[in-house]
Every structure is written in structure tokens, then in C-alpha cells.
């Protein structure tokens, strides 16, 4: 039997990964820091027509696009004359397991089946677990979902407990761990023990699966309003949602559409902290994943992450937990759509953004998720109170404090966003490289220009600036 200590399992990481993903990532490595992203996506995935066919086999996709007329009308009551963009919502909760994650899982699981694996494993505390479980059963594969679920007192986050229930309901095994990034260690042990497929959120298949979402938005938008949307807002965590959607938009020809990432602001809370774990009301779609994954995408569980948000993101907006809960209430009350709060993160920013834009502009919010026990605002706020978080009614801009206070807006005029400076994000990306003492070669600048969605001259300027700052820190 192989050594099961943390160090020796982590040392076997590369071979375990290679056997479990079915992708030879080494083939795509280029000189310097670069790799051939487009070739990886092309060779190891499927064209959009094939993706849509795979998804239709398991009932995934073709979700409705709904105009939120009452919310738009409410926004216009507080906008300047002529302002208040139209808001549309892609109701992804109508996918088989209740979220857009079915798109991601469908292609991964189909690939696992095609490659002859007997089962799949996914490391996820989110909706992706239920999606992989549901898709696995449809393809007659075994499924194990590994979750980070409890703190050291054995207290489970209600939303994650609900996802465990859903996974179990589909017939998956659920392994629930306490807080810590060593979940990855156990995940590797399981891959090694079972020989199952790694249904990572970050493989080319997983990302290609979301391209259909962007593609459908363009088709539906043209059918409904005769043009492409001006803005598409995507909740941003690991980067897959935004990357896949943006790629789909481009494939469908929407090259001018602005792609905006949105996260819940959880600054100040440490994601690997046992103490902080149950002091947050959002388990994903927050800055704790959003920022680290944007500035260092290859921190994921595969050698090269196919989710590369900064390649596609035009703007990055942050909202607070209390605002998202308020908007979740609003979606139910004004549009008759009761959906899960985490899925309404980008809708929250859409409301603030719509207020500033002319009436003839259109915003598409590209997801919703299912709701129910554990996943309702009331369930999360009850849990927050039990963990010593104060719930107040007031302006979130003044009162929100992650881990301490959740502020429910007094009215819709208090819904606002904080804008993250994109140049700062690009600087942070470069800082990650410089910190690892990587010497850049000429071809790296081309690669970085694509990675950071900015021209080579700007990349060079940023590298110079960041290097000088890092040197002075040392």
C-alpha cells in the first residue's frame, strides 16, 4: 500500500491528476510561463454544437430568459429621467439539479463515460456536487462528492448540508470534511483508491459546458429584443462561470457585450480559518475565491485551469451579503421567482448598474439557483445570528462588516456596488509571478497580454512597476 501521509500524497499529485483527468496538460506547455490555452480548449473539449447535443441528452440547458419588468420599473422610480436599463434573468435554476452547474457537470461526466471510467469524484461544497451527482446517475456512473462542511465543533453550514442532502438523494457518496485546504489531500487519496475520473470544476470540459449559456443568451436576446445585450453580469468565484459564459457570448458573435464579474464582498474573513468558516453566509460567489482565482487561476485542482477570468472580465463589482438577501426577497416578491441567494449575487449588482444606464440599454443576469431548506435567506440569517453575527436594517455601505454585521438595505436606493480596479487586479496577477521569482522572457509578454486582457506595452509597464514595488518590500 502506498504511503498515505500528507507529504507523500501531495508529492504524487501530478501522476494522480494525470490518470484521473484524461488530459495531457504537458502537451500544451510553451516556453516560459505560457501555455497554449486555445489549443487545450480545442483539443480536449467539444465544439459548441456537440456540447449542446450532450446537454440536451440529459435535459441540461435551454433555460428561459425572463425580463424582470417589475424590478426594472422599481429601479426607474429612483433613476434620473431616461435612465434605468432593462434587466433580464437567465433562469438557470430550471436545470435538472437546479443550477448552471449542470452545464459544467454534463460535459465532464459525458467525457468520463466516453473514456471508460467507472465513476467520478468532485471536490465541491457548492451546487456543483448535486450537478455531478445528477449527471452521473443519468450516465450510470458512480459518484463521490467531497465537501468542506463543518467547523471543528461539528457545526455544518446549512447551505452545504443541503447540498449534501441533494447529493445523497441522487445516490452519491458524500465525504464531509472540516475546514482546511487539505481537502485536496483526501480528494487525491480517493482518486488513487477508486481510479475514478476527476470531475474538476476547472477542466476544459467543465468550462466548455458553460459556453452554451453565453450562446443561448445571445440567441434569446436577439429573439426577444432584436439585439445582443449590452451587459452580461456573472457571479464570480473560481472564474468558470464568467469564462465559459464570455466564451459562449463570443462564439455566438456578441463581441461588444461587456462582461461584468460580481462577487459578494467578504473581505477580512480568512477562507481557511476554522473560526471564520461559519461566520459567512455565502459559501461561494465571494471575494475569498473571486480575487485569488482571478489573480492566480492555476491554484486550482488541475495543472492548468481552463477558467481564466481576467481574460474576459471587463469590470468587477462587489456587493454585500445583506444586499443579496434583500434582492433575493425582491425577486420573490416582485417577480414571483423564489431562488437561492448565492445565485442572486450578480442580480444585486445589476440593480445598481441599471440605475446608472440609459433606458434602452439591456443587462442580462446569467444565472439563478434553486432554493429550499438551508439555502433560504432566513436559514442563512438564522445561522448567522447563532454564530454571533448582528443583523440590522440600514445602509450596507455604512454598516456592512463581513463576519460581524449583515445589513439589510432600508430600501432599493441603498443597493450599490463597489468597483474593483481592474488594473489593481492585473498588478496582483503579476505580483504572484514576481513573488515566485520568475524571470519573464519576451514571449511571456504576449501571453500575459492575453491573460490580462491588455496590450503588451501596458503589461511591460505593469511588470516594471510591480517589480520595483516587490523589490522595495524585500
Amino acid at each position: 500500500m502506498q504511503n498515505r501521509s500528507y507529504e507523500s500524497v501531495m508529492a504524487r499529485r501530478k501522476e494522480i491528476m494525470k490518470a484521473s483527468v484524461g488530459v495531457d496538460y504537458d502537451k500544451y506547455e510553451l516556453e516560459g510561463i505560457a501555455f497554449d490555452y486555445e489549443a487545450l480548449m480545442r483539443d480536449t473539449s467539444y465544439p459548441i454544437e456537440e456540447i449542446r447535443k450532450i446537454q440536451s441528452e440529459t435535459g441540461v440547458g435551454d433555460t428561459p430568459l425572463i425580463e424582470l419588468k417589475n424590478i426594472t420599473r422599481l429601479v426607474r422610480t429612483i433613476s434620473e429621467p431616461g435612465k434605468g436599463a432593462r434587466i433580464f434573468l437567465k433562469d438557470e435554476a430550471t436545470n435538472p439539479s437546479g443550477s448552471f452547474k449542470d452545464r459544467r457537470a454534463s460535459v465532464s461526466v459525458a467525457r468520463a463515460k466516453e473514456l471508460g471510467y467507472k465513476g467520478v469524484i468532485a471536490a465541491t461544497s457548492g451546487n456543483y456536487g448535486a450537478a455531478v451527482a445528477s449527471q452521473s446517475m443519468k450516465r450510470a456512473l458512480k459518484c463521490i462528492v467531497v465537501q468542506e462542511c463543518y467547523d471543528s465543533k461539528g457545526k455544518g453550514q446549512p447551505e452545504i448540508l443541503e447540498k449534501a442532502r441533494a447529493c445523497e438523494a441522487y445516490g452519491a457518496e458524500v465525504a464531509q470534511l472540516t475546514v482546511g485546504p487539505e481537502l485536496f489531500y483526501y480528494f487525491l487519496l480517493l482518486l488513487e483508491e477508486t481510479g475514478f475520473f476527476n470531475a474538476s470544476l476547472y477542466t476544459p470540459y467543465a468550462i466548455a459546458g458553460i459556453e452554451s449559456l453565453g450562446y443561448e443568451i445571445v440567441e434569446q436576446s436577439n429573439r426577444m429584443i432584436g439585439m445582443n445585450p449590452d451587459y452580461v453580469l456573472a457571479t464570480h468565484a473560481g472564474g468558470g462561470n464568467l469564462t465559459g459564459t464570455a466564451r459562449g457570448l463570443r462564439k455566438a458573435g456578441a463581441k461588444e457585450t461587456q462582461v461584468v464579474g460580481v462577487s459578494v464582498d467578504l473581505s477580512g474573513l480568512h477562507m481557511a480559518s476554522n473560526r471564520d468558516f461559519n461566520r459567512k453566509s455565502f459559501t461561494t460567489g465571494h471575494t475569498g475565491f473571486g480575487i485569488p482565482f482571478a489573480v492566480l487561476p492555476d491554484r486550482s485542482d488541475v495543472p492548468r485551469n481552463a477558467a481564466r477570468a481576467l481574460r474576459y472580465m471587463d469590470r468587477y463589482l462587489l456587493v454585500t451579503q445583506g444586499e443579496v438577501f434583500y434582492v433575493t426577497e425582491m425577486l420573490a416578491r416582485l417577480e414571483g421567482l423564489q431562488r437561492g441567494p448565492a445565485g442572486n449575487t450578480s442580480l444585486t449588482a445589476a440593480i445598481a448598474l441599471a440605475r446608472e444606464l440609459p433606458e434602452d440599454k439591456t443587462i442580462v443576469v446569467q444565472e439563478t439557483e434553486y432554493t429550499g431548506a438551508g439555502k433560504l435567506p432566513s436559514a442563512q440569517l438564522t445561522f448567522a445570528k447563532e454564530n454571533g453575527i448582528e443583523i440590522v436594517r440600514g445602509d450596507p455601505l455604512a454598516l456592512d462588516a463581513p463576519g460581524k454585521t449583515i445589513s439589510i438595505p432600508e430600501n432599493h436606493s441603498q443597493i450599490a456596488y463597489k468597483e474593483v480596479n481592474m488594473t489593481d487586479l492585473r498588478r496582483s496577477y503579476i505580483k504572484q509571478l514576481i513573488r515566485r521569482e520568475i524571470t519573464l522572457i519576451e514571449s511571456d509578454y504576449e501571453y500575459l497580454s492575453e491573460e490580462l486582457k491588455t496590450d503588451v506595452a501596458k503589461v511591460k509597464e505593469l511588470v516594471k512597476e510591480v517589480s520595483a514595488n516587490v523589490d522595495s518590500e524585500n
Partner: protein, 104 residues
């Protein structure tokens, strides 16, 4: 509490003890072990809570651990009434259904 062969149970085990945790984790996490909880059908004829047992999981794996719960249930729920939230909700409904001049 005891369980018999074939009963649905939850087991618990320590995966990494204090001192074995990854160097990167923050102090408060380093000071507690990494624990695993998993559910499955009991393999042994009979066992008491607290005893080391084996279960067969939904994916057919056999896993060892300390018996923690017999026939574990899902206890997460819809939560309590949250006054701040229900207040916000009724304000929105009133606006929608005629409490405001702007509404049609």
C-alpha cells in the same frame, strides 16, 4: 445507542492530526485536526456509538471510522422568521400591489 448490520449510520475519523496539517493553514485551523464524516450501511453485526466500525458507502467503498450517529437525519431547515427581512418583503409587496402611486 447501538446499530445493527445494514443500518444507515454516520462514522467519524481524524484524517490529519494537529501537527500533521498543511504548513499553509492559519493558526486556528492548525490547532484542530482535519476530520471526516461519511455515511453508509454498517458492515458489523452490531456496534455501539463510539466503537470503530466499517461502513459500505453509496459508491460501494468500505470505510472505517468511529460510529457517530445511527440513522442520521438532515436537520437543516428554513430558519426562523427574520424581522428585518419580512419587513423588507412586505414593503416590496405594498409597492407592487398598490401601496405606491408609481405602481400601475
Amino acid at each position: 445507542m447501538s446499530a445493527i448490520k445494514g443500518q444507515w449510520v454516520q462514522i467519524h475519523r481524524i484524517l490529519l492530526d494537529i501537527g500533521e496539517r498543511a504548513p499553509s493553514v492559519p493558526e486556528d485551523t492548525k490547532n484542530v485536526p482535519l476530520e471526516l464524516r461519511i455515511r453508509g450501511f454498517l458492515i458489523e453485526e452490531k456496534a455501539e456509538v463510539g466503537e470503530m466500525v466499517t461502513v459500505e458507502t453509496a459508491s460501494g467503498r468500505r470505510v472505517h471510522g468511529k460510529l457517530e450517529f445511527v440513522e442520521p437525519t438532515h436537520e437543516h431547515n428554513f430558519g426562523d422568521n427574520i424581522p428585518e427581512l419580512s419587513e423588507a418583503g412586505i414593503e416590496l409587496t405594498r409597492w407592487l400591489t398598490g401601496g405606491d402611486r408609481d405602481a400601475e
